[in-house]
Amino acid sequence: MEKFKQLRSTAIPLDIENIDTDQIIPARFLKATDKKGFGDNVFRDWRYDKNGNVNDSFILNNKEYGGSILVAGNNFGCGSSREHAAWALAGYGFKVIVSSYFADIFKGNSLNNGLLPVQVSEIFLKKVMQLLKNDPKTEIEVDLETQTISVIGTGLSETFEIDPYKKMCMLNGYDDIDFLLSKQEKIEAFELNNL
């Protein structure tokens, strides 16, 4: 897993609530047996119409907007557990997702793929969304070490929560498998006593 410490980038405001993982990556693209290529189809049915024509009104197709931070409405990533959603977002180039609420499974999947979910207050989210709508050049800085998200040049800043263990993993690029394997003796002892 890639390390994550700090990021400064422009951002894309996706002002829609309850974005489910079926929207992030529709089921018909889940037939692959590896993790590659999902970025091409992220938000497929919002980016393109049924005939494959680009939907100009969708924010990802707006050339004024770009960057590796996605700012999305409340309750992001609900629905299906498909980790393909995290692979698709990361594959497209996002490194941070900002929302006021994340669904549990999506949050875990993102963290397991070096994609940082930053949960902010409703008020902060509203302000950032507005700043981005007003000016696509608005830059956001996310610092994992200090758990801070700031909008450059505006004084707008907030701290965010992250599980200390997961923070350590993100900062160092570790994943859970190595940690769990280091517990093998305890796991076997548990099995002996309980199964």
Partner: protein, 460 residues
């Protein structure tokens, strides 16, 4: 300290705790399918890690399988490749697989309970969010991502922070025609799609105590639609008699010993939960969703609400409905009875009971998709297939089918489908398809009438 059902099962599975961090939770049973497992096998192979406990895993092919001509090679190249990959991975790692055509094949959340693989007090995971279904047996069961599938392969454990606990109590007498699906759709419409995020939910009260295992599974299945990782119902005599005699169920004295333990798995009287909701059963009526998340539900006789909210407007635009209008009399061309929510024998009995002696509306395409080969066999054995065929319905072969439209079973662009599945998200049943979630009874009635009717007026 007083404990909840959830505490009792969770605490019995903690292998280790990290200071200020997650716990190492032991996983008893792991269910896998073709879509969310290949990358996990690949990960392990690349790192040279073996599958630790293959005997605690069962696999099935369900998400990406055709529901007709299952004896023939799968037509879609990518689907065929994905299914082959599952077979190869299971063979290589010594994992039991019920592949397409096997007498135990079917939807993962239908087959594990019917084989007795799902038991009270267990921890059960699967790379599928509807794993919450198995909580109906008093198990801690939840969906996981593919990275976690790899973790369980490698260590039979997961690193998790203990979720908070909530309880939903429903007491009182249900009205006629109100099914478990209506109860859960009603609950979600009342508390919203993220009321359960960060929680494990216990369902308690007379209504769940009186419910069949099939009904309990329908309720627990949709826990994830209110954001809860899992749902649970305390095991009781209904649970024990369901399990008894099934393939993987403990036998003889072992069974008696297990039952004695399972009986201890209920929430202590004075245990404290982090959040509680309570509903009166008599307030619930047959439900229908009108929007693009499962929380956008109304009583079938009610009008769509009028809200000044962008997400609400966006959903209504997608669905082609007006705020404030009634759904009654809307013409419907597609009906789907199936999915891990409502594809068990009881669901088909309910549908058959309504359909018997009637004819399907000519313009309706109705797909009846059993949850497993065993359900399919039972439908035939009980004579339900004859009822369906006489009424103009076609029984298809088992699988997830039009619930997520990964195979050919897709609802066309712009069409409405009254569906017994669990999600009405945009495009869930096919690009541009419009889903209205309902019970098997409402779905059956829609197929007969060809339009949405107030089912309560058609009973008695």
């Amino acid at each position: 300290m007083k404990k909840t059902l959830f505490d009792k099962v969770w605490d019995a599975h903690v292998v280790d705790s990290i200071k200020d961090g997650p716990q190492v939770l032991y996983i008893d049973k792991h269910l896998i399918h073709e879509v969310t497992s290949p990358q996990a096998f690949q990960e392990l192979e690349e790192r040279g890690i073996p599958v630790l406990r293959p005997g605690q895993i069962i696999a099935t092919a369900d998400h990406n399988t055709p529901t007709v001509n299952q004896h023939l090679p799968v037509k879609d190249t990518l689907s065929r490749k994905q299914l082959k990959q599952l077979s190869a991975n299971c063979k290589k790692n010594g994992i039991t697989l019920y592949e397409l055509g096997h007498k135990y094949n079917g939807i993962v959340h239908v087959i594990a309970p019917e084989l007795g693989f799902t038991q009270p007090g267990m921890t059960i995971v699967c790379g599928d969010s509807h794993t919450s279904t198995h909580g109906a047996f008093g198990a801690i069961a939840f969906g996981i991502g593919t990275s976690q599938v790899a973790q369980v392969f490698a260590s039979q454990c997961l690193l998790l922070k203990k979720p908070k606990k909530m309880r939903i109590t429903v007491n009182g007498k249900l009205k006629k025609g109100v099914l478990p699906k209506d109860i859960i759709l009603y609950i979600i419409s009342q508390i919203g799609t993220n009321a359960g995020t960060g929680y494990f939910c216990e369902y308690a009260g007379e209504v769940f105590e009186d419910m069949s295992m099939e009904g309990r599974m329908t309720v627990c299945n949709m826990s994830i639609e209110m954001g809860a990782r899992g749902g649970m119902i305390a095991p009781d005599e209904t649970t024990f008699s369901y399990i008894k005699g099934r393939k993987f169920a403990p036998k003889g004295k072992d069974f008696e010993a297990k039952v004695a333990y399972w009986k201890t798995l209920s929430t202590d009287k004075d245990a404290v939960l982090d959040k509680e909701y309570s509903f009166n059963a008599s307030a619930i009526e047959p439900m229908l969703t009108y929007g693009t998340n499962p929380g956008m539900g109304i009583k079938i006789s009610e009008n769509i609400p009028i809200l000044n909210d962008r997400s609400f407007t966006k959903a209504l635009d997608y669905m082609g409905f007006e705020a404030g209008e009634s759904l009654l009399e809307k013409s419907i061309n597609y009906v789907f009875i199936g999915s891990c929510t409502n594809s068990r024998i009881e669901d088909f009995r309910i549908a058959a009971n309504f359909i018997k002696g009637k004819q399907k509306a000519e313009h309706v395409t109705a797909w009846l998709v059993p949850g497993s080969k065993q359900v399919e066999a039972q439908i035939v054995e009980e004579g339900l297939q004859d009822i369906f065929e006489a009424a103009g319905f076609q029984l298809r072969q088992p699988g997830c089918s039009a619930c997520l439209a990964m195979n050919e079973d897709k609802i066309p662009q712009g069409e409405y489908c009254v569906s017994t599945s669990n999600r009405n998200f945009e495009g869930r049943q096919g690009q541009g398809a419009r889903t209205l979630l309902a019970s098997p009874l409402v779905a059956a009635a829609t197929a007969i009438e060809g339009k949405i009717i107030d089912i309560t007026k058609h009973l008695n």
